[in-house]
């Protein structure tokens, strides 16, 4: 039972880490959009979104 609780705690922690990672990537995408990357802009934005 204890082992299972640990597993479930780890799952919730993973969800929160993934969420934080996605928020950071959103910030990165918005910042990258502010830079003048020319034709590469589309590629960079979609690559970050794809991650």
């Amino acid at each position: 039972m204890e082992q299972r609780d640990d597993f479930q705690r780890a799952t919730v922690r993973t969800y929160v880490y993934v969420w934080l990672g996605l928020l950071m990537l959103t910030g990165l995408t918005v910042s990258a959009a502010g830079m003048d990357l020319g034709q590469l802009g589309v590629l960079v934005a979609l690559l970050i979104a794809g991650v």
Partner: protein
């Protein structure tokens, strides 16, 4: 007689449905790419009219709603019905907040005379007309999906409360979660294509 449940079949069915959704939006993304290639300058001009802050805010709202959705499923797996319901309610509220933002954003666009067939829009270059046509069609179709998702998740909330969705049988909630995550992912692609790439 005990009710027969085919959990695996149910999940496969959901994935096939999601695949059809990917094909639906995929077609629109291809259309967007083709027109963007043809009218690069016009798309650049038109995209500058969209509000990045609204787009970013809605992205954060949907990402957070995906977290609360996953937490709701994690809770029901532990048998925590109240917690599952609370996370599900938060997901529904975030979905409504997304739609509220969309409403304000669209109202502002309509107020500025930017809507399909408006005299203001028809006076612009053809690429800009196409950009806004695609903007309304794609974000509108996505918004419709969010609205449907909010409805489905509300019904799931009712099922969690009345015990139809429980620790030993939560496939309905899991499939609804898959749908909600797909709606989130589609937005993750709409956001940079319309709001960020100028």
């Amino acid at each position: 007689m005990e009710e027969h449940k085919d959990t695996i079949g149910s999940k496969i069915g959901m994935w096939i449905f999601l695949l059809s959704e990917v094909i639906l939006f995929g077609g629109l993304f291809v259309l967007y790419s083709a027109y963007r290639y043809k009218f690069r300058g016009d798309f650049h001009l038109a995209a500058m009219d969209l509000n990045k802050i609204f787009g970013t805010l809605n992205t954060l709202i949907l990402l957070t709603s995906s977290l609360t959705m996953a937490m709701s499923i994690a809770s029901i797996r532990k048998g925590l019905r109240l917690s599952s319901f609370a996370y599900l309610s938060a997901t529904v509220l975030l979905g409504l907040l997304f739609l509220g933002n969309k409403f304000v954003e669209w109202s502002a666009k309509l107020g500025h005379g930017i809507y399909p067939n408006s005299p203001d829009l028809l006076g612009r270059n053809s690429g800009e007309v196409l950009f806004f046509g695609l903007y309304y069609a794609m974000t509108g179709l996505h918004g419709l999906h969010v609205l449907v998702g909010v409805g489905i998740l509300s019904v799931m909330g009712y099922f969690v409360v009345n015990g139809r969705i429980k620790k030993t049988d939560f496939i309905l909630l899991e499939n609804s979660g898959l749908y909600w995550h797909l709606v989130d992912i589609i937005w993750i692609f709409l956001f940079p294509l319309f709001y960020l790439i100028t």
